[in-house]
Assembly symmetry: D2
Homo-oligomer: 283 residues x 4
């Protein structure tokens, strides 16, 4: 079933919910989900509205035009999506392949509503996996000397392929600000710690050193601030003094796969709104 | 801040959300939360709407009348609540006092939006605790011979006190169907297992015997079917072969307190709708 | 590093720990792990002892002989394992491949200390996956008419291959008692519910119907009693009224993979002792 | 049942386990629990041994003498405890009383094997609770000007009362290094965040600001480094964008109580060994 989804944020005032739901109803849409949230600190209103497109009288273009007028009145930031438009997606990966492996399994099983059309890596390890899934694989070694040039090429490729979502599935390179600014809230990273604890390198070694009794994983949108972007999802698992760094890594891999997958899935279901370097994730 | 809350369920059709939100908006209400859910199996629509009563032009009686007309058109089952109306609550307890102790602490701290005006027990153990909190305590021993008679008295007392919510905080007596029918979806029980596993007596001993690696607690509305009412909340905790029945009990106590408290709190916040012997709990 | 592992259970009495640790020490073994547990109900003593074989003066055969004499005195049930002996393992699977897919990923990554030499299925779906990993795949359709005959063949194949561990990775056939008795505590199953809740067919549909707020998965040794064998590991995850049966299945898949993997891993690390239809799992 | 407990750490070498278990066995002790751990990074051996004192032939003094000789040979750091010796305990608290309230409930129920003989606070709020439980309450306001002097008095009081364990149950004062050095690994604090994230002041506000999806609590031994002492126990709970700072606080209170209680309980059961600013917690 094809559905329409509106994601809205604006200063709170009376009548927003009524106006928006009326808009959909007056064009013969059946509302399936209506979620809203008000951030009281900043007096901001957030809404996600999903309705059946069966019998709905407006095309996507017409929605943009008509709703746009209404949106201006409320100073809304907003987007509209149709479920059947599956975003083209690229996965960046380095040497650890467990997250990629997991994403591809879910993708092949029809669980991820996107089109994974590209895998980019600074190492050759993922080539066989990409081939097996018939996905274009591009190896681009990154050195200090060629980093900026290589990123430029990456951006050109992404543009040529029409990529709308970039997943960093354990990609061990820090993207430059310019790259990040090209895909605002469209680059999802998995960090192998419970952020803000253990940002940066070797989080499992840091966790072992500190003697924590629980480890975590965090998926977030990438911003120019390393490991500081808006958190989408986190999860944790208990560990004990018996576990070596190597064992923490293995246990953590299970978390990373699950947490990254949830974040990607919610992004694709258009359940996430970003504000104030935080996320609203409607469930 | 005083707010109004509408809880609604009805057969799904186009226009419900728009109609309901318009109703509130047209009487000058600012919607704070609008949650809805559609059960696709039964094609049932559920909604919880909360709005600020500041500047709202209708009294509770007027809401009942005006919204009633609208509700009929959609065949709604519905209720309206005002946050400032704090329901009178009775707690039933036997010999284990940890849940009562916890409820009273939260109550005293201002965390439970109700008025606990009565504690009833088939044992004397809770008398001191009740006294300390200046809550009326009634001890009523229950024997096979006097059970029906005692329950009749209990119902009279509840009626006289205007009780609207009954919490069974480890009350080890099975209520009769008649009692239960007097308070439909208004009796909350805590069962010390992860239902439907280990219903009935001695769930910790059952869990130990079975060798489960996780134990749980379940809070549910009481129905005539023992431990089979609509589940409101559950939680679990890991256990190991090292733990005796006694240790399971202690660990379980922490779960029981938290799970019961959440269920009671959500009930008081009017976040729960019941259908099909299940619950919708809006968050 | 090669290590020796002793798994012991016997009636409790003074001096067992001292005697066993002395045995290892007196033959120049450095003890790495010594775990013990006493079940007070049945007065049974359990022990797992692991020591470095570097410099240890006895061969496996000699351990069996010498320790056997000592073990008789204490009426021990016991086994000895060497870490370098990797048990030959067969995986049984039907149409859902997520658990198999996961096991093979971990196997390929060197995380599972066994040799997976055989995949048997009553459906053709896993053939490609098996081929990719260069593991022998045998498809054996199971019908009412040929079940006993097919199982006989399976047992012959397992024997011929020297299989020591059978993993049921979502194998949707009930094994006969005869099959099960051939591999006591050597068949590991994953059941997609929090046992003992929702044993038997369609546990996710049962969970949905019941309206539980948490779902689970259970890995256990297979006994003649369907879904009633000794539980090795369980885990749970929260669900809400919003989730359809289909969504429960997807969420549950993550649990199944993790729980089955843990059970298999602990079995291979020789951390599990079975008694009284329960398990001791040393960590 | 009275038991003896040995806590040992020393450089790893062959024969420690055999020697220690023999020591107990040769004096007619029945070993109930024997846990050991080897930290491979530092090649350190850790052991906790618990045995029944029924029929055991040595007094505590004799154990100290005889075992001391043996311990020297292995360069052990070690302690011996008898279960029946219940350590005298002081609780420090400020204005939030939920942790104190919880500790006292468990204490009164016989769940904490200690003697809580003193409550010290820089505020008067806990006075009634202390009185109710007939525990000596001392209010000592702490100002910049009198801090060192007041701490001196506190130390004198603790000494006079024979206090062996200090619990900081949300005590909002930073102890001086001198105080801390007087009770090494004998002061247990509860910090209301998942350390090392959000150390210092207002961790819930920090967590809200950061937009984390999970909050936590951490119990640790106090060292001169604020919130950096060896972690004993941690736990976490999910939160969402819907929850205000106030709601995080309430949810966190449940964690704090449970986490602090576990840490205190394990300390009293003598299950904790400290090394390298980390803990080994035997289960």
């Amino acid at each position: 079933m094809n559905t329409g989804i509106l994601l809205i944020s604006c200063p709170d005032q009376k009548g927003i919910t009524a106006t928006v739901t009326n808009f959909v109803f007056s064009h013969n849409g059946n509302i399936l989900h209506a979620d809203q949230h008000i951030d009281e600190q900043s007096n901001t209103f957030f809404m996600r509205l999903e309705w059946s497109l069966e019998g709905f009288s407006l095309s996507k273009e017409a929605i943009k035009e008509k709703f746009g007028t209404l949106a201006k009145k409320f100073q809304m930031q907003w987007d509209v999506y149709l479920t059947n438009d599956r975003p083209k997606t690229a996965v960046f990966v380095s040497k650890y392949l467990h997250c990629l492996y997991d994403l591809l399994y879910r993708y092949k099983s029809g669980q991820l509503p996107c089109v994974i059309s590209l895998i980019i890596s600074n190492h050759p390890d993922a080539a066989a996996l990409a081939k097996e899934h018939k996905i274009k694989f591009i190896e681009m070694a990154i050195l200090k000397e060629n980093k900026i040039e290589q990123e430029k090429k990456q951006l050109e490729i992404l543009k040529a392929e029409g990529i709308e979502l970039v997943i960093l599935a354990r990609y061990h390179q820090i993207l430059t600000e310019q790259f990040i600014r090209t895909y605002p809230n469209k680059i999802i990273n998995i960090h192998h710690s419970f952020l803000p604890a253990f940002a940066g390198k070797n989080p499992y070694a840091q966790a072992f050193q500190k003697g924590v009794k629980i480890i975590g994983a965090t998926s977030h949108y990438v911003t120019a601030d390393l490991d500081q972007g808006p958190i989408i999802e986190q999860d944790t698992v208990r560990v004990s003094h018996r576990e070596s760094i190597e064992q923490l890594k293995r246990k953590g891999e299970d978390l990373e796969r699950i947490v990254l997958n949830r974040a990607v899935f919610w992004h694709l279901e258009r359940k996430i709104l970003v504000y104030n370097n935080k996320t609203v994730v409607f469930d």
